[in-house]
Subunit: 246 residues, 2 copies
């Protein structure tokens, strides 16, 4: 499994992904699920992946290959597309093609064993920062004021705190705290989601990557949150009055 | 979907179930998923059901029919079985038979469209209170000190708070509060889980049903918890220090 979250804030986009992949519980590896592309001063694009690892690696490789000057075969590149919407179309089409190729058929590809789902975020000069969720069929939806964040992978354990504590005006510092609480709840409940975590914070209108950090197993802040959240939850629970049988 | 939880405490067993069933989001009904049988002074048995409604209703009907004196055909009755373990065997066998009959085959039945999963709790004089989770195959596992509660149905949203706040020594009042928080998180996230809720509290060594209550949509305590928990969660979140970028 996997857990990735993209938060759209007023001041930018914060993305976090785990790094655990598994083929059975007895075969666990660390693989990066967050990929970044940049044209300094012009655009910053971040992609997070959940699903079949061969599929997502192929998608990332294809997207990267198309950027190489030697490969100017007319294939559009996500570093040249004129908007984030066009970047999303390229990524979606690439994803759909890779799955269809593995499957040897076209059509609905969400049920394929080679399926994958992606979160794409970033900003291209001339447009706003945008956040998309891209489906195996290659189509996608965009985050809005009503749905300002996307999750992929094991989404359920970490959702209640996102729903309750997300605020579009929150600081980057609070957003990272929120993501760490959400990831901690997920990691505690599902063995197939695990540290280290990858973090990228894109600040609106900077048009280059912001803070990129890997949060390792021994990260002091994550461990403090992990312990502190348990205590804080129990305190919050104790603060509510008990049921009365009258 | 469905959400049911059974908590094994030192002072007894607390069980809560929702009542929503659906065949598509445009076809929603209220059905009871908690069923109780009692031999006053001798045993109290509670069953909660998740899965195909035709299957679970057939299981409950078969279990009830076998108790009628007119039907003394040698079929064992859950009111006569000498222990909770034997009650669990009868329930498990009945469940497996109903699914196999719908399927027209025997074998592994967890993947059947007619599948169901059950939580069984209670006490028979001469034994301890016991809590079981019964699988579609008819086999079952028992709650222990390491795993003192069971969930069936939509289990993920409501699990983090159970893991963090459960305490075997807790009062019944706190246990109901805990269940309400867990159900509220689930109901907020999944349309197919809904009020009203059914509650049964069995107190150890009483050998009769304890408090049985239906928590309706306008229940003042539930609504207070639902609002209060959001505030309490945000307060708990705010109490933790924000991330520092150094």
């Amino acid at each position: 499994m996997t857990y990735c979250v993209g938060l759209k804030l007023n001041r930018g986009i914060v993305m976090m992904s785990d790094t655990r992949t598994n083929a059975g519980v007895d075969n666990i590896s660390v693989f990066r699920k967050m990929f970044l592309w940049e044209a300094e001063g012009e655009r910053s694009v971040t992609l997070m992946t959940a699903g079949n690892l061969a599929t997502t690696q192929a998608v990332v490789s294809l997207l990267s290959e198309r950027m190489k000057p030697a490969e100017e075969r007319g294939d559009p590149s996500i570093l040249e597309a004129p908007s984030m919407f066009q970047v999303a179309r390229i990524v979606g089409q690439t994803l759909r093609e890779v799955i269809a190729e593995q499957d040897g058929r076209s059509g609905l590809v969400a049920d394929s064993a080679f399926s994958a789902t992606l979160i794409l975020g970033g900003q291209v000069r001339g447009g706003e920062p945008r956040l998309f969720m891209i489906y195996p069929e290659g189509n996608f939806v965009e985050a809005s004021d009503d749905t300002p964040f996307f999750q992929i992978g094991e989404t359920k354990y970490g959702r209640p705190i996102l729903v309750r504590a997300y605020d579009p005006d929150m600081s980057f510092e609070d957003a990272v705290k929120l993501l760490m609480v959400s990831f901690d709840s997920t990691i505690k409940a599902n063995l197939s989601v695990g540290l280290p975590l990858d973090l990228h914070i894109y600040e609106t209108d900077t048009f280059h990557h912001g803070l990129i950090r890997r949060i390792e197993r021994d990260d002091a802040y994550f461990n403090m949150i992990s312990e502190g959240w348990g205590v804080a939850l129990r305190d919050a629970f104790n603060a509510l009055p008990p049921y009365s049988f009258r």
